[in-house]
Every structure is written in C-alpha cells, then in structure tokens.
Symmetry: C2
Subunit: 283 residues, 2 copies
C-alpha cells in the first residue's frame, strides 16, 4: 500500500510584485529587441535566468561588458548612481526594472545624507541591493552584525534596512546601534511587507509539519531568510533550488510536508515540486 | 579596638549644573525679593527645599496658588507651555531656571510634532519633567514600560527620553517600539551626560564595596535610577535621604562602603554622611 505524503503550501509564497515586474519587463523588451543586457542576474534564480537567456537576455558582471548603444535592463535589486551615469556615457538604452521599494530606499538614503545624517544600511554587505544603495551614497556604512556597530560612530545616524531582512533582525541591530550611544537616529522602515508576509506564513506552516521545504535560488537573500527562520522553528528544514535537488532520504519517516518559496522562485518550479512530493511513498 | 569603616566616594556624584543653577538663581532672587514662589519643589530634596523655604521660597502645587504680581521660579524640571501662558496672564514675574537639557527636550518635542511625528516620551509619566514636556505638545504619549508600547501606534514616531533615565532603559524601550512595527522613527538622544557619568561611576564603585549608599530625595528620579542600577550589581544597596535614616544594622559585617549621591543632593548631606560613616565601628 502506498501512503501518500500530505503536502501543504504556505499561505503566501513565491513571486513578489517587484520580481514579476522585472521578468515581464524583460520579456516585453526581449520580444521587441531580441538582445538585452542585464547588469547581474535579473533575479537570483538560475532556472529563470536560463529561460530568459534563451530568449536573448545576456547577463554581464559590470558596465564595462555592455556594448555601446545596447539595451540594458536594471534588475529589481537596482544599480548605483555611478553605474547609471557610466551607462549613460555609453549611450545605451536603459530599461529600469528596479523594485519600487529598493528605489525608495535609495532615495531615502540619499535624502538622509543630504540632511547631514551618516547613513547606516542594515543588511548583507555583499547583496546587490545593499551594494547599489551604498553606491548611491557618499560614505554610508553597512551593519550586518553586532561587531559592525563600531563602524557607525555616534553622531546623527540615518538608518535603513535591506528590504528582505526580518523585523526581528532590524530591531536587534537598531537596539545595538542605540546602545552604543548616539546623538540622533532617523530610522525609516524600508522592510518589504511582502517579504514579511512570506516569513510569517512560512513560520506558521513549518510549526505544523514534519518537514519543511523552502524553494529558491541559493543566492536569493529573501529565500535564505525564509530558510533561516524556518530552521529556527523546525530543524528539519531544507533549502532546495528545485525538484532535482530532492533526496528521498530527507523525508524518511515524515507524513506531512510544508512548502514555501522565495520571491524569485517561479510558479512552475513550485508546482513541479509539490506534484512530485505528493506522489512520494511516505509509507 | 575600633576598626573604622573604609568609605569610598564615587568618581562622580552630587549636584549637576542644572540643579546648581536652579539653587543659585533662587538664592539670588530671594536675596532681592524676599518672597518667591516655586511651581512644585525646586529640586527633589527636602533638606534643600526646607533651607530655601526659610529664606522665603514658597512651594505651590499649581499656578492657581500663585498670587497675581508675584515672582515665580520655574524649577529645573521645567513647566508646560500652558502653565507659562497661564502665569503670564496673571502678570507675574517669571524667573526661568529650567535645566537647559530639559528645555532642549521640550523644543525638540515641539519641533517633532510640527514635522508631523507622533511624539513618544520614554520615561516616568508622573515625573514633573515628563509632565512638562507632555504639556508642551498636543498629543504626545509616554512609554514607561513594554505594555505602554501599544499606545504609540505604528506611523512616524518622534522619540525623546526623560533626561535622567539610563541608556540601557532607553535602548530597551527603543527596541520594543521598533519591534512593534513602524514607518519612521526619529530618535533624539536627550539623556543627560552628567546623569550617565554618575550612573557609570556608581556601578563601578558598588562592585568594589561590601555595601553601597545612594544619597538623595526619595522622589528624585535620577537618585532612584542610581539606586536601581547599584542594586542590580550589589544587592546590599541602600537609598537614604541623609544620615538620620542610617541604621547600624545595615553595615553589620561590612568593612568597605561606597557612597554616591543624586544630582539634587547637596554636598553638606554627603559630607555629613561620609564623616559619620567613617567613624562607625566596623569591628
């Protein structure tokens, strides 16, 4: 007798409006131009990048690699003001698919600096979103953990946060910054509500199941944050890119499985995973 | 043989510039006018209040009790804009001895409100300094502990702190406010550096001695904060107003004693206490 695995999906998961916009923009421009350059992977999902590459999207590492006169897509994570001005000098056609929340954060950081605040970006210094905001400001600093606090100084600090971090992390860093002494803090909540909803739904679900799968690119910050949170509440949590990475040993003894996916994980990968997992013999 | 108690004073203790200014202002005006009204006790120290009362300082509870045409002293904790305007209507001579840091906090709170922030005052809602700031704003709220956070809402919050609180308390409340969700926080550090220095010196000293005495009025917020901090690090901590409250049983078995005093505790009370304590037989 085959006992099928009971698979449950999180209340909220997968593509966010920013990612959806970046992909549909890319598809529209590709249909028109045939070849478009993307400054870095358009989203942190290799499957989607591969699909779009077949349609003519060329991923480059930096502005140098963009030919003059080409069409360039600015991905949802944004680009620094320096990169944009460099692109303009090359006389390229710029298609801006920066997520509106990321754009807002860039503008807030620039405005804070204009108002005399030292800008502090709470987040991962290696993430392209954070690097782009950093590149829009003169001398911002990034705080990724407690030891970084020493970099902020104790004057007038203007604080923003990488959009895909969790409120807990933002709150913890804020408390540490305040505890180190300051004259004035201006803190704007730049967290993405969509990302927070995915985090809450993932935690809720992982508490109810024997095993939890978080689907998405290994480079995807929001997917990694989902996996990190779920692991806290359900140690049997796996961050997989797609069904190819599934191993039957993972579900040994499990009768219920939860599935969620990051904001850059396409629906087809989730559907494929859920279908295959449901058919696993959990007996 | 008499074994004398070794008494050590904290590195920093006693009168702060704000209190010193309020008292010297009162003495100057009393010498000139003979009778001066104080809106509430000039400082939270009954001994000092009694001394000044003998020179003609009349403490009243509210503006109603001030006769028209009299001379009124605004104490270091300040007064609300409403009280000041009420006093002006009575055609009294106003002598303003509000501590410059309290005045600054009032101005910051009013400015924040003008900029559209909901003002949050972190501190004790019953303390006259906090009540005065509250009375300068339209609809500020006071946060004295975690359950108060629900009063702040989650919009644009402008946050200040009662000058005599500790950085730890301010940081803890900030973290709780941020954790409850917000759009924007503007936080100005309104803590008094003099008070912080007294707190640090008190903690340092209380760790080195068998018993710790914190001298000052029981209503004095900064003295209470000193005692609260010392109690955390040395459970044998006593908050006394003066030598009259000393009980020999307190020092039983102690060879070393630490002494500190709040910002409103006059030097003569400290000198008297230290002299008497040093002569105690600790054998």
């Amino acid at each position: 007798m085959i006992a099928e695995m009971k698979v449950m999906l999180a209340e909220k998961y997968g593509f966010c409006p920013g990612v959806r916009n970046a992909i549909s923009t890319a598809e529209k421009v590709l249909a028109d131009k045939g070849r478009v350059y993307s400054l870095g992977p358009i989203i942190h999902n290799p499957d989607v990048v591969e699909r779009l590459a077949k349609k003519g999207l060329v991923t480059v590492d930096n502005v140098e690699q963009v030919p003059a006169g080409a069409t360039v897509l600015i991905r949802s994570h944004g680009a620094s003001y320096e990169e944009i001005s460099h692109l303009k000098q090359k006389n390229v056609d710029i298609i801006d698919a920066t997520c509106v929340l990321v754009k807002r954060m860039q503008q807030i950081a620039v405005q804070m600096e204009r108002e005399g605040y030292k800008v502090v970006i709470v987040g991962d210094k290696n993430h392209p979103e954070v690097r782009a905001v950093l590149g829009c400001t003169g001398n911002a600093v990034v705080v990724g953990d407690e030891p970084d606090i020493s970099k902020t100084g104790s004057g007038r600090l203007g604080i923003v946060c990488q959009t895909t971090q969790s409120p807990e992390f933002f709150g913890r860093m804020l408390s540490a910054i305040a505890g180190a002494g300051f004259d004035e803090l201006k803190v704007v909540n730049t967290l993405c509500k969509e990302a927070i909803k995915r985090q809450q739904a993932a935690v809720e679900l992982c508490l109810k199941v024997d095993i939890m799968f978080v689907l998405g690119g290994l480079e995807s910050a929001n997917t990694r944050k989902l996996a990190e949170l779920c692991k806290k509440y359900n140690s049997r949590t796996f961050h997989l890119q797609n069904w190819d990475e599934f191993d039957k040993k993972q579900v040994f003894g499990c009768k219920t499985a939860g599935v969620t996916a990051g904001a850059s994980t396409p629906q087809w990968i989730i559907d494929d995973f859920v279908k295959n997992l449901s058919e696993i013999d959990a007996g």
